[in-house]
């Protein structure tokens, strides 16, 4: 059982230059959604550069409960590609990228700016990629003492440790999803948007301690709790009962809180047979099999 000692995405504040590492696209979208949500809630302008198309990027945010339509319409939220911002064709130049960043900071002005950059462009055949540490250093200098925060997003499976180490020093904080259990069979981690936990793989009683810790921490937060089991292929009775008991325990809370179970039809049926429908605080949301 390992709980990451890193900063949580929800702890970031103004003039942070944070380095986010993620393990899979679901995690990237989840953490970005939390970063975007908190930025929009704080009245900041929010910009996300990624290698997903802007439509895909905003759809992923919407799927996690972000009111993207209003924010896009008002210009508070921008999802964009790298072209003309960090890249010109397949060429990267730290100087040109900083020119773009300065312009964004000027446009946002006193509103403040939250900028998330998926760094996977640097994995492609881009000339000038050796200027990446220089760029990170300049970003760190540029945001100091401002109302701007920048979240650089690195895929920890695809970036080599040397590159990650060379850029880490320029960041004020390092951010990752809290992970309660990770092995080839099972992954249990915190989900940030909507808040809760995410379970992937196969879960049986042998991982009950990790599940209990994850549930305890998720319930300690305020508001509704989502148990995202869409990527979970198997759950045994003791772990399913532990989740139901957690939902039962929330029942008399004030204000009323809900536990939302997202899972495939087979698992949803298992929860029903174990009494899920008799728990008022519990909602079962069935997701399609893939």
């Amino acid at each position: 059982m390992t709980v990451s000692a890193d900063t949580q995405i929800t702890d970031l504040t103004v003039n942070d230059h944070a380095c986010l590492t993620f393990g899979e696209s679901e995690e990237l979208f989840d953490l970005t959604a939390a970063f975007v949500r908190d930025g929009l809630d704080g009245g900041l302008k929010v910009v996300w550069l990624s290698d997903a198309t802007p439509d895909r990027a905003t759809a992923e945010l919407a799927r996690r409960g972000i009111a993207v339509a209003e924010a896009l319409a008002s210009g508070q939220l921008v999802a964009a590609s790298y072209e003309g911002r960090l890249l010109a064709g397949q060429v990267f130049s730290a100087g040109q990228a900083m020119t773009w960043l300065a312009a964004e900071m000027a446009t946002a002005g006193t509103q403040g700016l939250r900028l998330a950059v998926d760094m996977s462009w640097a994995l492609g055949p881009v000339s000038g990629v050796e200027q990446l540490p220089e760029f990170e250093e300049k970003v760190a200098a540029a945001v100091t003492g401002t109302t701007v925060s920048v979240l650089c997003q690195y895929d920890r499976e695809r970036f080599d440790p040397v590159t990650l180490a060379s850029v880490a020093a320029f960041h004020t904080r390092s951010v990752a999803a809290a992970t309660y259990h990770a092995d080839v069979m099972l992954r249990i981690c915190r989900q940030y948007a909507p808040p809760g936990i995410r379970l992937a793989g196969e879960l049986d009683y042998q991982a009950a301690d990790s599940l209990a810790l994850a549930l305890t921490e998720a319930i300690r937060l305020e508001g509704d709790v989502t148990i995202n089991m869409a990527p979970l292929a198997f759950i045994d009775v003791s772990c399913a009962r532990m989740i139901l008991d957690a939902a039962r325990g929330l029942n008399p809370s004030t204000p009323p809180r809900r536990v939302i179970l997202r899972c495939r039809p087979g698992l949803a049926a298992r929860f029903v047979l174990l009494g899920a429908a008799d728990i008022p605080a519990l909602s079962l949301v069935t997701v399609d099999d893939h």
Partner: protein, 285 residues
């Protein structure tokens, strides 16, 4: 991990240290799967069961049900019994029969891993308190028999292989102020979503047409071929939606005898009102 020609397990898990207890009906044929298990090999056990269930022709929903049933019984042997055990599966024309045995003698290594293994290993018995998976096994398996003695414990479950029959379909009509919904074919992973949508639509439409509510729903199940856990859960959810709708009622009519017996054995019969036929249901609803 599979069996070889003579049915001996090619497992890397510890072999049985003593002869497992005799099953209640000793089979003559060669099992299609014969595999030893302990705490570290439950995952491979589930994978092997899933593969054989699908190969034998169980539908995806029923294959999932077999996997959870075997897992719960095997996990019970690991946690509350010897700490290890043996699974054998036989296939007949009509059914898959699975036997999970546990010789009741914990290995020194297993005893450290198993919760409360020592006292229970001396007096093995099937426990049924909450937290134990046995109630779920009863809900998903067609038949279950358990035995225990000084030689250990043995659980046998069977899953009927689906006979060919008519495909799933739903028909409904109004009669005597009731909605009669006829369910034909299997109610399972493939069809339950359509069933649930139809129930929800019938409830909301009838409610808006009839200001007093009082929706009377009769499910004519004479042609219902069977269910998996997803289908059974859909029936339970439908009943709960009806119960939550003021004035609404639902009766299960003409439920085939073997399914009615399964409801009783799964301890779910109290959740439903049953009637012999749609006509009887219309009189009593």
């Amino acid at each position: 991990m599979t069996t070889n020609g003579d049915g001996r397990p090619q497992s890397t898990t510890p072999p049985q240290s003593t002869t497992p207890p005799q099953s209640t009906t000793p089979p003559q044929s060669t099992p299609i799967l014969d595999q030893a298990f302990d705490a570290g090999s439950l995952y491979t056990l589930r994978a092997a069961v899933a593969a054989h269930a699908t190969q034998a022709g169980l539908t995806p929903g029923r294959a999932d049900d077999l996997v959870i049933a075997v897992h719960e019984l095997a996990a019970n042997a690991v946690r509350h019994g010897a700490g290890h055990g043996r699974l054998r599966i036989w296939r007949s024309d009509q059914a898959l029969r699975c036997e999970i045995t546990d010789d009741g003698v914990p290995d020194a290594k297993d005893a450290e891993n198993a919760e409360n293994a020592a006292p229970e290993a001396q007096a093995p018995e099937w426990r049924t308190e909450p937290g134990h998976g046995l109630s779920l096994v009863r809900q998903v398996a067609d038949h279950i028999s358990l035995s225990s003695g000084r030689g250990g414990t043995s659980a046998t479950i069977s899953f009927a292989l689906a006979a060919s029959g008519p495909p799933f379909r739903l028909d409904w009509h109004q009669a005597d102020g009731c909605i009669v919904l006829t369910v034909t074919g299997p109610l399972d992973l493939a069809s339950a979503a359509e069933f649930s949508r139809t129930i929800a639509n019938l409830l909301s439409e009838s409610e808006s047409e009839n200001e007093n509510g009082n929706v009377k729903l009769i499910l004519d199940l004479a042609q219902l071929a069977g269910w998996d856990s997803v289908g059974l859960a859909a029936l339970i959810t439908a009943q709960q939606q009806v119960s939550a709708t003021p004035g609404a009622r639902m009766i299960l009519a003409a439920l085939p005898a073997h399914l009615e017996q399964h409801l009783r054995e799964a301890d779910l019969n109290d959740r439903f009102t049953l009637a012999d036929s749609p006509a009887t249901a219309a009189k009593t609803i």
